[in-house]
């Protein structure tokens, strides 16, 4: 996976230890691990449980509750496409249809390889939709061709 080192239990342990002093540290730990490795490996569960004196079930429960946390390595390119009402009003569902029809891209298909287009609900760009978020950059007035191009670009880098 481009950009992320492979999961390393010792680095993970250090990240967890570095945040253990925070109140309610579980989410900061999970975010920090995902920022580092691109996902949260199931091996993180006992690490966090031990550091915070929680049961493994509690930690697993937190990871599985939130849409953001991924438990397996992710594609190199993730395009988050807003499909909430304001973007619906500007045709985001037509973008989804066109991606499938003309570009062979199925939204939310986790077996697509190097790039994925993921559904999100609201990126706070409701007057300039449809919107997408790619590598932390917001894109307004997006169309299917632009998204398909971003997916291709992702492949070139992986």
């Amino acid at each position: 996976m481009a950009g992320y080192p492979a999961w390393d239990q010792d680095s993970a342990r250090m990240i967890v230890a570095g945040l253990a002093h925070l109140e309610g540290a579980t989410l900061p730990m999970l975010h920090a691990l995902q920022d580092e490795f691109g996902y949260v490996d199931p091996q993180a569960v006992p690490l966090i449980a031990e550091a915070l004196n929680l049961s493994r079930a509690e930690v697993h429960g937190a990871i599985s509750f939130y849409h953001d946390f991924k438990t397996a390595p992710q594609p190199a390119r993730i395009v988050k496409l807003c499909r909430a009402e304001a973007c619906q009003a500007l045709g985001c569902e037509s973008v989804v249809d066109e991606l499938s029809r003309n570009h062979g891209i199925a939204v939310d298909d986790h077996h697509a390889g190097d790039a994925i287009v993921e559904t999100v609900y609201c990126l706070g760009n409701c007057a300039l939709g449809p919107s997408a978020l790619v590598d932390g950059e917001l894109i307004g007035r997006v169309d299917a061709a632009r998204i398909a191009g971003l997916c291709q670009h992702g492949k070139a880098h992986s």
Partner: protein
């Protein structure tokens, strides 16, 4: 090069960046270098005229002159036209302050957004920052609470609960530790005021939280920000560090005996975290399962301690109230809705953006006069007010005033002030189906009406859309909606029927289609 550099403002707001503001800033910098001109590029927040982004402003002797929407390709021509001294060009809009969109507003909360460098403490102070806090420091906690009560401020997150009463409860509670929590999980589609405020004037929210802390005797605070806002997150993190360095927060607030420690925490893509008890669970590091109330968070909130949980815009209103006086704030507005409301206009609209006005303006004035109708140029068919749990109104209902009670009287809600416009291509049965689908995905799962009801709702809508036994299924839909409204634990399940029933009641023709042919296409 001896003259002072010309100040040029290029927004760093995420919406402006989404349409190319970064490239514009770079083009201006390199063009200025090439031409040997001395310019200072200030990355400000957005003025809220989002259809004009990237909106570039140049500081001249007559004031700030706006140009927009500017693309990187326009930059050389702008320099040729002498835009650094306000020269004429097709993109020149005139003085920013005199643009119709700006002149019509009453900006209290957003007075500095787009005007200042968001991270400059000096700018913040020069434009009236800190004054509310300084006045609050001279008062007792009880006096601050009384001022907030007298201002009539109601929670801007959607529920509209009087902020002063909430603060009073926390003020009166006895505890060794109290918390201030800012709900910045702005998940409602059609809303972006919190994001713009963090990116354009972050110290204002911090100042509001500090005043709350002094009022109720809290020493720790958290801003719970949604992860979909990476730009706001970066700005806030830097703002908190700078605020600490400036003595605004930390062991001694502006040299007083009050301590206030503040952290920003990121959500993780769960809409339910906008519900205050679910947000508290998430801050504690748990699954964000809604809590039953009572106990109220004001008495047993974060880690079981008395906690003020307010929306970003509620905290942000407080410094103005403390500085200008509760009555001055209360003089704006109508009925029981006092002060101003930052309205967010989006969806299929020609001129979308942020409009701050006293309560009482009609939806029609906002959408037609300020918004200019639909972007597609087709007729308006539906308008959703108040986010995904808000009602869909018809084009005939737009004369309603923006006011908590006026909207409630027509079975709609103001929510966080978001307005989403749809043209006549919208299929309201699909919108109703989406309301259930969204609820099914985002339900925390604690209560049955929401967890199961949302899924049954999707199935029922599928049958209605397919034209299967429509009258019977509409009866099921109404029954299910009543059950979810009456028996859900929180607003997620309890209000999902609002968009559904408003779509059904106002647009019945979309729910009464002949059965689909079996072999489509």
């Amino acid at each position: 090069m001896s003259a002072a550099p010309v100040r040029i403002f290029v927004p760093i707001d995420a919406a402006a960046l989404s349409v190319g503001a970064e490239a514009v800033a770079q083009a201006i910098a390199s063009e200025a270098t090439t031409r040997g001109l001395s310019v200072e590029i200030v990355r400000n927040g957005s003025r809220g005229m989002l259809w004009l982004e990237p909106l570039v402003e140049v500081e001249t002797t007559e004031g700030r002159i706006a140009y927009g929407p500017v693309t990187a390709k326009d930059v050389a021509a702008l320099f040729d036209a002498g835009f650094v001294s306000g020269g004429a060009h097709a993109l020149r809009l005139g003085k920013t302050e005199e643009l119709d969109w700006m002149k019509r507003q009453q900006r209290l909360t957003f007075e500095r957004v787009g005007v200042i460098d968001p991270l400059s403490i000096a700018d913040y102070r020069a434009y009236g920052g800190f004054k509310g806090l300084e006045k609050a420091l001279a008062l007792t906690g009880g006096e601050i609470v009384d001022a907030v009560k007298a201002s009539g401020l109601r929670g801007r997150g959607g529920a509209g609960f009087p902020t002063g009463i909430k603060w009073k409860t926390v003020h009166d509670a006895k505890a060794e530790q109290k918390y201030i929590v800012c709900n910045a999980d702005e998940g409602d589609s059609g809303t972006f005021a919190d994001r713009m405020l963090f990116e354009g004037d972050p110290y204002l929210v911090i100042e509001g939280m500090v005043i709350a802390a002094i009022a109720v005797g809290a020493t720790r605070g958290y801003i719970y920000l949604r992860s979909e806002y990476p730009h706001a997150h970066r700005t806030l993190q830097r703002a908190i560090l700078k605020a600490e360095a400036a003595g605004m927060i930390g062991a001694s607030v502006l040299g007083s005996e009050h301590a206030f420690h503040l952290e920003v925490r990121l959500g993780a893509g769960a809409y339910i975290c906008g519900e205050e008890t679910s947000l508290l669970e998430s801050l504690e590091g748990k699954r964000a399962i809604v809590r039953a109330k009572p106990p109220l968070p004001a008495l047993q909130g974060l880690f079981g301690k008395p906690t003020v949980v307010n929306n970003v815009l509620s905290f942000a209103a407080v410094p103005w109230i403390m500085d200008h006086g509760a009555q001055t704030y209360a003089d704006y507005g109508m009925g029981r809705s006092r002060g101003t409301l930052p309205i967010q206009l989006g969806g299929n609209v020609r001129r979308g953006g942020l409009i701050e006005l006293a309560f009482g303006i009609s939806l029609r004035e906002i959408i037609e006069d300020m918004g200019g109708g639909t972007l597609s140029g087709r007729p308006i068919r539906a308008v959703q007010v108040g986010g995904p749990l808000g009602a869909y109104l018809t084009a005939e209902q737009l004369d309603v005033q923006m006011d908590y009670e006026a909207l409630a009287a027509m079975r709609a809600m103001l929510g966080h002030g978001g307005i989403v416009v749809f043209d006549d291509s919208v299929d309201m049965a699909k919108q109703a189906r989406f309301a259930f689908e969204f609820c099914a995905k985002e339900s925390c799962g604690k209560c049955t009406p929401c967890r199961i009801g949302a899924t049954r709702g999707v199935e029922t809508m599928n049958r209605i859309i397919a034209g299967t036994e429509v009258p019977k299924n509409i009866a099921v839909l109404r029954d299910l909606s009543k059950l979810m409204t009456d028996a859900s634990l929180c607003a997620m399940g309890g209000l999902t029927p609002m968009p559904v029933l408003s779509a059904l009641n106002h647009f019945p023709e979309d729910f009464d289609r002949p059965p689909l042919p079996l072999a489509a296409e």
